[in-house]
């Protein structure tokens, strides 16, 4: 009984700490950006690079970074993966997208940088992009004989989307949003104010009321979708912090050894993290003494794979490919974590 109370106290303390620490404020602009991306960026314009006739090199490049635009919610990643694999550019680009997607959406980048440190946030994004291409290429080479019959219909249907705003208007809009996020986070209030005014003018001149409403609706949708999970994750992180003895964590992953990185990657592969919850949970492990190398390894392997997603993946592409991919993820995450830990020490 006493233990249960102590654990609950840990969870509640973490929640209070979290809410009062203004960590959430850094997410507010990020939520607006995520909402804007899903309303104003034509997903078809990105997806056309994954078509069956797409340039292969371009497909890998776009796949590795398009998670920013396409994968705001981890629940869209698997269907898109299946679509690209079965109906589009094939296994390699699909794998690249699958691996990098959860790590490089706006919310994940902002939140990891804020809570785990800018070095880890940046390493997570860069590591995910670079290794997604490498893993995708390796998978494509290993299974090169199994090219599937393509069904071009899914991609043919994409063209009917109406064109959005001119590119420069979109770029200006998103640049201002990202500026507000960045300058707001570094407390440059004057610049932030100027940008907010500029944003107001842009919204007034270029956007219709209907578009604005949709933007707010989508932003609200993300908030409702993600915040409950996130608070749950913070709560669980608090409990873990109270439940797990520091000596265990330090003993297993306290040093930047190959074994520690492997343990972190392997557990990350099995563990399921709901959207963004990996961040507070890993923060708890860091507080308990986890080394930065294994932290990165866990961050890279964790959201990319989990037991449930391995099961779904095996339904889409079969066990051989799924297990090969899982093994590659663990190997890559281990190496990346180990090198990163080595560099920051």
């Amino acid at each position: 009984m006493e233990i249960a109370i102590r654990l609950l106290q840990g969870g509640v303390a973490a929640l209070i700490d979290y809410l009062s620490f203004h960590v959430l404020t850094c997410l507010v602009p990020a939520f607006f950006i995520a909402g804007a991306i899903s309303v104003f960026v034509s997903q078809a314009s990105v997806l056309k690079y994954f078509g069956p006739n797409a340039n292969k090199f371009l497909a890998y490049g776009v796949a590795s970074v398009s998670g920013t635009v396409l994968a705001v919610c981890s629940c869209t990643v698997l269907p898109l993966f299946g679509g690209i694999y079965l109906h589009g550019a094939g296994l390699g680009p699909a794998i690249a997208f699958l691996y990098s997607g959860p790590a490089i959406n706006v919310l994940a980048i902002v939140y990891s940088a804020r809570l785990l440190g800018y070095d880890i946030g940046a390493a997570r994004a860069v590591g995910a992009i670079v290794f997604s291409i490498i893993i995708g290429l390796i998978m494509a080479v290993i299974f090169r004989k199994e090219e599937k019959q393509k069904n071009a219909e899914a991609f043919a249907a994409l063209a009917i989307d109406p064109p959005g705003k001119p590119l420069w208007k979109q770029l200006a809009f998103f640049a201002i949003l990202v500026g507000i996020l960045g300058f707001g986070a570094s407390k440059q209030w004057i610049v932030t104010g100027v940008l907010l005014v500029a944003l107001g003018i842009i919204l007034w001149r270029w956007f219709t009321t209907g578009e604005l409403k949709q933007w707010m609706k989508e932003t609200g949708h993300f908030v409702r979708l993600i915040i409950p999970w996130l608070l749950g994750g913070v709560f669980v992180a608090g409990i873990l912090k109270a439940a797990i003895p520091e000596s265990w964590v330090v003993g297993a992953v306290g040093e930047n050894s190959l074994l520690a990185n492997f343990v972190a990657s392997f557990l990350g592969m099995l563990m399921y993290f709901a959207t963004l919850t990996e961040v507070p949970i890993i923060r708890a492990f860091m507080d308990l003494g986890m080394n930065k190398g294994p932290v990165l390894a866990l961050l890279l392997a964790g959201p990319a794979l989990s037991l449930p997603s391995i099961l779904s993946l095996s339904r889409i592409m079969g066990w051989r490919k799924t297990l090969t991919f899982s093994a590659l993820v663990v190997v890559m995450a281990t190496t990346t974590g180990y090198s990163f830990g080595f560099i920051v020490q």
Binding site: G82, H87, R315
Partner: protein
């Protein structure tokens, strides 16, 4: 008319299911609504993003929840054929 909602259980998929049921009720159509949750079966349809709406084995919308009016139009178009 045969309607299938493709989705593995995400929030938008539930929203689509509810919206379709509401539209069908309003139009008083005689349809069979089926939810397809198996990833493998979903991928047999030419869609890239869930939720997908399939009417008479034809994908009419994917990746979004169409508005009420749009849904009604899709249903009526399919009913005419």
């Amino acid at each position: 008319m045969d309607i299938k909602i493709l989705g593995t259980g995400c929030a938008k998929c539930h929203a689509l299911g509810d919206a379709v049921k509401a539209a069908v009720k309003e139009l008083q159509l005689d349809v069979k609504i089926q939810e397809v949750k198996d990833m493998k079966k979903i991928m047999e349809y030419p869609i890239l993003m869930t939720p997908g709406l399939v009417i008479n084995e034809k994908v009419v919308s994917s990746g979004k929840v169409p508005g009420k009016e749009e849904l009604k139009k899709l249903l009526l178009n399919a009913a005419k054929k």
